[in-house]
């Protein structure tokens, strides 16, 4: 079998998850550097059309890995079905986006095959013949280059935004698509999933906001949120928050920015008292301008800030509100 890289593209309820284009971009880069052929696969019940969409990109082949038991998604079915497929294909590398669904099954799949996953990677390096994968440690404070100490297939998941989905190369012509049926025996699937649903009605669509003032644990108490709201109002922006604020019920869940909440890319993201944990950063790192205020000079948020203030937000925000009001009054 010629050496290959397999990108497992994600579909949910019959639609391609767009983050898969990022994984494909990563696969194309790795393929160019290693010389290994790039292939893609999409798993589900009847996914030929989705495989066809992927075939428009620069890949050598796309597989539709099918079984009625792959719909709805369960970790048991996906691990069993993809294991069968990967054991026949024997790619060197298996790449996936680090989505909640992938996290739910890929460690099971790798373990069943006696392998391991290097997860939530933000990049890679080729060092001689060896590939190392870069990932964040300690919530972004340090980085680590990690290599595999086992045989292939090597499983890697990439963090949202680590590669540019809009940079994926189109193919000169459509790649061949092959349907592969996998057998998933009775009694393999133990979970019974119900319909996916959205919780509360979403009162605000933060993805449409041009200016966002976002608060983290540094706000300390619920009553202090008023200060941040005043700043948001003065700027004509929306208030948002990192997860702990919403978990505490201080702001409704539809104000949450991060992997479990909204992903935004406004003109201005003002982070007040937010440390910059990875789960939050993935939801806002695409913002055009990021301003961060935090007491801790080592806070990971400063890695991605355009303008940084190491200081107490309670000292900074009140005069800032005044300056903003002055400026808007035409000073």
């Amino acid at each position: 079998m010629p050496e290959s890289i397999l990108v497992v593209v994600e579909q949910r309820e019959g639609k391609l998850n767009r983050v898969s284009w990022e994984t494909l971009t990563a696969g194309q880069a790795l393929s160019a550097e290693t010389g290994w052929a790039l292939q893609a696969a999409v798993a589900g019940n009847s996914v030929g059309a989705l495989a066809g969409e992927v075939a428009g990109k620069k890949v050598t082949k796309v597989y539709a890995v099918e079984s009625p038991k792959l719909d709805p998604y369960t970790p048991d079915a996906f691990a069993a079905g993809l294991r069968q497929f990967i054991e026949t294909q024997r790619p060197n590398l298996v790449l996936m986006p680090h989505t909640y669904q992938v996290r739910d099954f890929v460690p099971k799949l790798a373990t069943a095959m006696g392998r391991t996953v290097i997860s939530d990677c933000i990049g890679y390096k080729k060092e001689g013949a060896k590939l190392v994968f870069t990932r964040q440690m300690f919530q972004g404070k340090l980085a680590a280059d990690v290599s595999f100490s086992c045989e292939s297939p090597w499983f890697v998941t990439f963090q949202n935004g680590a590669f540019r989905g809009d940079k994926v190369e189109a193919g000169a012509s459509a790649a061949p698509v092959e349907t592969v049926k996998v057998e998933i025996p009775e009694n393999v699937i133990r979970n019974k999933p119900q319909e996916v649903f959205k919780e509360a009605k979403q009162a605000v669509d933060l993805t449409q906001a041009e200016i966002i003032v976002s608060i983290g644990r540094g706000i300390k108490e619920q009553k202090n949120i008023e200060l941040a709201k005043q700043l948001a109002e003065a700027l004509g922006g929306e208030i948002a928050a990192s997860r702990p604020i919403c978990d505490s019920g201080w702001l409704p869940m539809d104000r949450q920015i991060g992997s479990s909440g909204q992903t935004v890319a406004p003109k201005l993201y003002l982070a007040l008292g937010i440390s910059g944990a990875i789960q939050h950063i993935v939801g806002m790192k695409g913002s055009r301008t990021i301003i961060a205020v935090n007491k801790d000079s080592e806070a990971p948020i400063f890695e991605i800030a355009d303008y940084a203030v190491v200081g107490n937000l309670f000292d900074i925000v009140p005069p800032l509100i005044e300056e903003v009001k002055k400026a808007k009054a035409g000073a």
């Binding site: 909640y100 919530q139 980085a143 280059d145 100490s149 978990d247 539809d254 400063f302 203030v309």
Partner: protein, 256 residues
């Protein structure tokens, strides 16, 4: 319900981290705390016990300092603790940690095993899922709610962008628990006192050595991340910073 909670001790959130001499790990002279998602997992186990009766057992793998995590859990209401005590556990990958856990609990009969959804040091989010596969149990991840049903449990899985999904599962099962599933309790003085008399079983690396293999992955090096952004730090007294920020907002960001 007999519930096992896998817990980890990690450096405190605001601890200043320094690389060790070989650049492959951190210097361990920092303050430690319980991995926050694991604290939520423990709280959920305690609430399930309060509702349905049973036992909550906590387990951790790490050097002697990590016993603190178990003591706090016992003080909060866990019934027993298991300490896989060895510095060597710090360097084990998730695969081998899960194998060590499985070996340590092989004579127990748990209905549920909880882990936090991921750790704040490695952030792999794998140990719980690997453990489920090793045990041959069903699992579900990023759980925000657990209810007992006639056939087992019904859990609420959190998905991205505000979506959720209920899943019915048989027992026994492994669940990875999301932060914010509940509100954490504080240990009471009575709880702290009672914790001293609760059983704490120590397990050595030698006891589980036959289950543990070499790591399947290796940290080649750790380093301070290279900055790709040109961050401008604004300094001075608060009033001056506010003025500078307003200038940036007007002239650079153009929102004023």
């Amino acid at each position: 319900m007999k519930i096992l909670v896998c817990m980890k001790q990690v450096p405190q959130k605001d601890a200043p981290l320094k690389l060790n001499e070989s650049g492959t790990w951190i210097r361990e002279d920092v303050s430690y705390e319980v991995n926050e998602p694991d604290a939520y997992a423990l709280e959920e186990a305690l609430r399930q016990k309060e509702k349905h009766g049973g036992e909550v057992v906590v387990i951790t793998a790490g050097p002697s300092r990590s016993q603190q995590v178990l003591r706090e859990a016992l003080a909060k209401g866990a019934d027993r603790a298991i300490h896989l005590e060895d510095q060597a556990f710090v360097g084990l990958d998730a695969f081998n940690n899960a194998r060590a856990f499985a070996a340590a609990i092989k004579d127990e009969k748990f209905d549920l095993i909880f882990t936090g959804l991921q750790s704040d040091d490695y952030g792999y989010a794998q140990t719980g899922v690997i453990l489920a596969e090793l045990l041959g149990w069903p699992h579900a991840t990023i759980i925000m709610q657990i209810e007992k049903t006639d056939s087992g449990i019904r859990v609420k899985r959190e998905l991205e962008a505000g979506y959720f999904q209920f899943v019915d599962m048989p027992l026994p099962a492994v669940l990875t628990i999301q932060s914010g599933i509940n509100k954490l309790r504080y240990a009471t003085l009575i709880g702290i006192k009672q914790a001293k008399n609760k059983p704490l079983r120590k397990v050595t690396m030698a006891d589980v050595q036959s289950s543990v293999t070499g790591n399947l992955q290796k940290i080649e090096r750790m380093y301070v991340p290279q900055k790709t952004k040109n961050t401008e730090f604004l300094e001075g007294p608060a009033a001056e910073i506010a003025r500078k920020l307003a200038d940036k907002l007007r002239n650079e960001v153009r929102v004023l």
